[in-house]
Amino acid sequence: MARTTVVPLGPQHPVLVEPIHLRFEVEEEVVVGLTPQIGYNHRGIEKLMENDWKKNNFLSERVCGICSHQHSTAYTQAVERVMGIEPPERALLIRTILMELQRIHSHLLIIGLEADAIGYENLLMQCWRDREIVMRIVELISGNRVHYSMNQVGGVRRDIDDAKVKEIESALAKFDERFADLDAIMRKDPTWVKRLKGIGVLTRQQAWDLGAVGPVARASGVDYDVRSTRAHPFCAYHMLKSFKPVVREDGDTWSRMMCRMEELWVTQKMIRECLGLLKPGPITVEVRGHPNGQAWSRVEASRGELVYFVKGSGKPALDRVKIRTPTFANIPPLVPMLMGCQVADIPPIVTAIDPCICCTDR
């Protein structure tokens, strides 16, 4: 009988961007057991959010740097639902444009990191160079490259004028060629395809039972995308015709990355449609009083479904804010994905779920 060795992919590891402890039990080269342990990045944000509901816009952004606007939108939406405020249409469209721009930069980031995890540093640098197009455009729109600080309860804080709309459109035009290149590489490049096809398989039943969200679930055949639930529209997605969720059947690592690549195309079309729908109007409504009541708010972040629960009782301090981030829901599915795989396949599989551990630990 073979002996089992314990290999800790510890909080500090060159392939991990953020600290998570994955304790593997390995027999020779094959993984037979896994225990994840989280909590290294816990900053107590849920407790901090109970201080003052007006300042939480900025705090919720800083839960994560890559999906910061999506967190801020989810929080703002939850407070707006508690207080019964409807932001104007132009504000919803601007929020949607920023959410989709954030999705582009997040997907380019993870495609680059996945390339880095398999040693393909050339592709990492290409993806991150293309990401600079998005970073400059959001710096133009919002003033910051990372934490946009564009949301406030009742609308958005800055407007986009016609000159900025033209610059967004020319940036999107640059992506026509860049995305076509990336798509061709991801489908045909032998390094990428041979390394990633067939590893880290998650079946459809496992994805449903273990609560996978986002591209991890959609690559395994579970058609779950918050943007398609028409019963609870959020931002301006109910106005867009070009949205179509991307679902694939295979459930392996290559499918997950292809899911993200195809989402990049859909996102590009959505931003163009939003820009076409912009009409002159106000960008914010006045807000009086304090939130009294509770509400849930769900948003499709780049990694999956992000849920916020806000409960207030009429004071500046809130009673409870609960955040459920997509990576928190995607870590239990790691266990069946990694069973039976080779030790050398661990970095690409772990990186393909798009782990954002600062989101997980808040």
Binding site: K54, K55, F58, L59, N122, L123, Q126, R129, E132, R136, E139, L140, G143, N144, H147, S149, R157, R158, D181, A184, I185, K188, D189, T191, E286, V287, R288
Partner: protein
């Protein structure tokens, strides 16, 4: 285009990076920077220090001074929006990293101006509790 063609194209084109700090940083217009006070307009409503999410502004009404901890400021602009007399503005400035905290002090000479009657959501009639 395959990766090989991509690499050859990159080999013979100019680099995508910028040799900062030897070259100037490329900052877009309307980029956030640091805040500045125009002390002739401040009426001491204290909304700026109350709204700051990181406590980067310390205001002393008796001594008529504002102290801004520049290294704490996250350039969110909440103070700029909260000020009823537009005494604070944000100007574009790329803050270089440094070794020591930078504290900007602003003192108001003489008596503060009378607050004008404006209908703003935070129009103050004196500091609220």
């Amino acid at each position: 285009m395959s990766m090989l063609t991509n690499s050859l194209k990159n080999l013979f084109s100019k680099p995508a990076t910028r040799l900062y700090p030897y070259e100037e940083a490329d900052i877009q217009r309307d980029c956030r920077g640091r805040i500045e006070y125009d002390m002739s307009k401040c009426i001491w409503c204290m909304m700026c220090s109350r709204r700051c999410p990181v406590f980067a502004i310390e205001s002393d009404k008796a001594a008529q001074t504002h102290k801004v901890f520049r290294m704490r400021c996250i350039a969110c602009g909440a103070c700029v929006e909260a000020c009823p007399t537009d005494a604070i503005s944000m100007r574009q400035h790329y803050q270089e990293p440094g070794y020591a905290p930078i504290i900007d002090s602003y003192k108001q000479e003489g008596a503060p101006p009378k607050p004008a009657k404006k209908e703003r959501a935070e129009a103050p009639a004196g500091p609220k509790a």
